[in-house]
């Protein structure tokens, strides 16, 4: 394989994987504190539509990102309220958030455009690439890592900080403790309720921002079903990353890379039908899932939070 090809695949992989990294790290925080939120797809798509609409109306992409984050956070708050306060089933509540989000995004996409019209087909502001002088002309990694938009660059901070926070700080330890055993944490005075709310909302904010990266940079504009199941790939990536933010990057790059190769092959013309290529990320997800579930040893050493999905009510402690 020649160097140019690798460079360009890496560039597309990073670009395509950025939203996956953000949303995956958000969901890692949520799951680490013991809450399973299957609403990622719904939160991402709501972030995408509101982010684009805001940017279109104010001509300010940053405001779009902020609004997308708030909307994602609000949707996660609904999930937190339903599952933590009202003790609803986490799986069904998450599915409901996704169903509500996709429905609402499709509805909004048709009424929040100019004059109450649709957003579909509009060209709005988008993030431009900010090449970093010097670094962006590095061979191999220059294009992929140093000629990207600011959201991608933010990952240089978000990923290490999330990892450090989770594993090397006291609040991070408390976060993981709540996810491992809520009742034990509560008994030693680590608040469960507030943390579960807080990190669930944080996960939503990150999913919302991830969605806005799609509509403001990766595929600028709004179309129905813009996220195309990325929210579900995020759920799989969390498992793939074994709840570790650093590994999320590897997974997201891998999935982004599949996208990139698919683009390349389509551009260069191939005998493979497009839909077979399009299937590859989903088939890959299943294969990866089988692989990580098979390696039991890996799971035991760095496995899932023991309290994931288990509700906690102080007065009904067993």
């Amino acid at each position: 394989m020649d160097l140019d090809l690798v460079t360009s695949i890496l560039a597309i992989a990073t670009f395509a994987g950025a939203s996956l990294v953000l949303a995956t790290i958000g969901e890692i925080f949520t799951e680490r504190v013991g809450i399973l939120n299957l609403g990622v797809e719904g939160m991402m798509i709501m972030g995408a539509v509101t982010g684009f609409a805001t940017a279109y109306r104010t001509n300010n992409v940053w405001l779009g990102v902020v609004v997308a984050g708030i909307v994602g956070g609000l949707m996660a708050l609904v999930h937190a309220f339903a599952t933590i306060t009202l003790r609803a089933d986490q799986i069904v509540s998450g599915l409901a958030i996704t169903l509500l989000g996709t429905g609402l995004a499709s509805f909004l996409g048709q009424v929040i455009g100019p004059d109450g019209g649709p957003l579909v087909g509009l060209t709005g502001p988008k993030f431009t690439k900010w090449p970093i002088p010097g670094l962006s002309s590095l061979p191999l990694v220059g294009e992929g890592f140093f000629n990207q938009d600011p959201i991608v660059y933010s990952l240089f901070v978000v990923v290490p900080v999330s990892w450090y926070f989770l594993y090397k700080t006291r609040p991070g330890l408390y976060l993981r403790a709540v996810g491992e055993s809520a009742s034990t944490s509560d008994a030693v005075g680590v608040s469960v309720f507030g943390r579960r709310y807080g990190y669930t909302v944080l996960g939503g904010v990150m999913a919302g921002v991830a969605g806005s990266h799609l509509s403001l940079s990766y595929t600028p504009g709004w179309t129905e079903n813009l996220t195309g199941g990325r929210g579900w790939i995020v759920i799989a990536l969390v498992i793939f990353a074994t709840w570790n933010p650093a590994r999320a990057v590897v997974g997201a790059l891998l999935f982004g890379g599949v996208n990139a190769i698919q683009f390349r092959l389509q551009a260069e013309g191939t005998n493979l039908p497009a839909s077979i290529l399009n299937m590859s990320p989903y088939i890959l997800t299943v294969l990866v899932l089988i692989l990580i579930t098979r390696t039991d040893k890996l799971r035991q050493t760095i496995g899932a939070p023991a309290g994931l999905g288990i509700p906690y009510h102080r007065e009904e402690r067993e």
Binding site: L86, A88, L95, L100, F107, G229, I239, I283, V286, I290
Partner: protein
């Protein structure tokens, strides 16, 4: 300065009939209230919009007086796949097997049904070309295809421990892409003038319309045999799941897996049984759509029936007979929503918004059937009134 009341949830010892009906009803009303806010924000008067939706879904008294039941039959047509997928989801969820893949299982059923209708007559020319043969054969093929598509995630779950939520979901995308590939590629009608879609099915594989069936021919319109199959399957599943030993085992596994295993109930056997059943039922939904309505494999199968099935099953509390009722009501939202687009120019996706909101509020509201809200007044500095200081 603290908040003067204290809210606590207290488990109800018994659930009265009033509570078990009242709470979900109030939850649905809350969802409509939420939908009303969204509608107002979008500049549509909520009450008038809901009235238009109801008229679109069920028709009006003057229409009924004229013997025009078009709206009702359209709602039943839309309800048909939802009954199948709702039943499929309900069976799997009963034992906490999270089958999110009914959409893909439906699509696989449609693909198998299409193959039977278009390619089997050439392959087995001696097979009598009548509905009495081709409809049952189609149903069997669709059941097998749907069951197969559910069996793979099920066996991966029980043998390898692979998370079924993600695997069934990924199988949706794979099935949908396969289906799109087929009707735009190898199965595309050569005489279709470039229009994407398979050739039309021969008439002996069509599901009869109600207008062709004695007694049922009081209803005209698009309503077809698929609705009857759906209702019959609901009845059969009610018997199997609520009246047989197998159904009892499945329920027990869902309620307490450990206890059930100690009692010698096999998880593997029951997961496979339920998933084959669940996938099979979803597969028939796909056949019913292609053989009952379009008579060809074409765009429009992957409209989220599998996902709406989750809403249907959960609101019906996983009870097969309630699934039929809830599916009809959800279909009414869809048909009413489509009507809005025509009459008021509003996006029909308002029905998806309402359905999502209904599921969320029924789910959240459920806490009040299990718990009562205890509100106690707190006197600042004196602790809780009525409690010993």
């Amino acid at each position: 300065m603290s908040f003067p009341w204290k809210f606590e949830l207290e488990r109800r010892l018994e659930v009265s009939r009033w509570v078990s009906w009242g709470v979900p009803t109030l939850s649905v009303l809350a969802a409509f209230f939420f939908g009303g806010i969204i509608l107002s924000l979008a500049g549509a008067p909520p009450i008038e919009t809901y009235r238009a939706m109801a008229a679109g879904a069920f028709g009006s008294i003057s229409e009924w007086a004229d013997g025009n039941f078009f709206a009702v039959t359209e709602t039943l047509v839309r309800a048909t796949p939802l009954i199948f997928t709702g039943l499929a989801v309900a069976m799997a969820f009963r034992m906490l097997f999270w089958n999110i893949g009914t959409e893909g299982q439906l699509v696989m059923g449609a693909i198998a049904g299409t193959w039977v209708a278009i390619y089997l007559p050439d392959l087995l020319p001696w097979l009598p070309q009548t509905r009495w043969v081709y409809i049952p054969v189609g149903i069997i093929a669709a059941t097998i295809a749907g069951a197969f598509w559910a069996f793979i995630p099920a066996i991966m779950k029980v043998k390898l421990g692979v998370n079924e939520i993600i695997s069934t979901l990924m199988f949706n995308y794979i099935a949908i892409l396969l289906y799109q590939q087929l009707y735009t590629g190898p199965w595309k009608d050569p005489e279709g003038f470039g229009f994407p879609g398979s050739a039309q099915f021969p008439e002996f594989s069509w599901f009869p319309k109600f207008s062709e069936i004695p007694v049922l021919n009081v209803l005209s319109g698009r309503i077809h045999f698929g609705f009857i199959i759906a209702v019959v399957i609901a009845g059969v599943l009610w018997v199997v799941m609520d009246k047989t030993r197998r159904g009892y085992e499945v329920r027990l596994l869902g309620e307490n897996t450990n206890a059930a295993q100690y009692a010698g109930i096999s998880v593997i056997k029951n997961v496979l049984f339920v998933m084959i059943l669940s996938g099979g039922v979803a597969g028939i939904a796909g056949l019913s759509e292609v053989a009952g309505l379009g008579h060809r494999l074409q765009a429009g199968l992957d409209v989220g029936n599998g996902f709406t099935g989750i809403i249907v099953a959960w609101i019906a509390k996983l009870r097969p007979l309630s699934v039929v009722i809830v599916a009809i009501l959800m279909a009414a939202l869809f048909v009413g929503g489509d009507q809005l687009q025509i009459s008021l120019g509003l996006p029909s996706s308002i029905s998806s918004v309402l359905q999502g909101a209904i599921l969320l509020s029924v789910l959240s509201g459920d806490v009040f059937t299990r718990y009562r809200l205890k509100i106690t007044r707190v006197v600042v500095g004196a602790g809780v009134v009525g409690e010993e200081a």
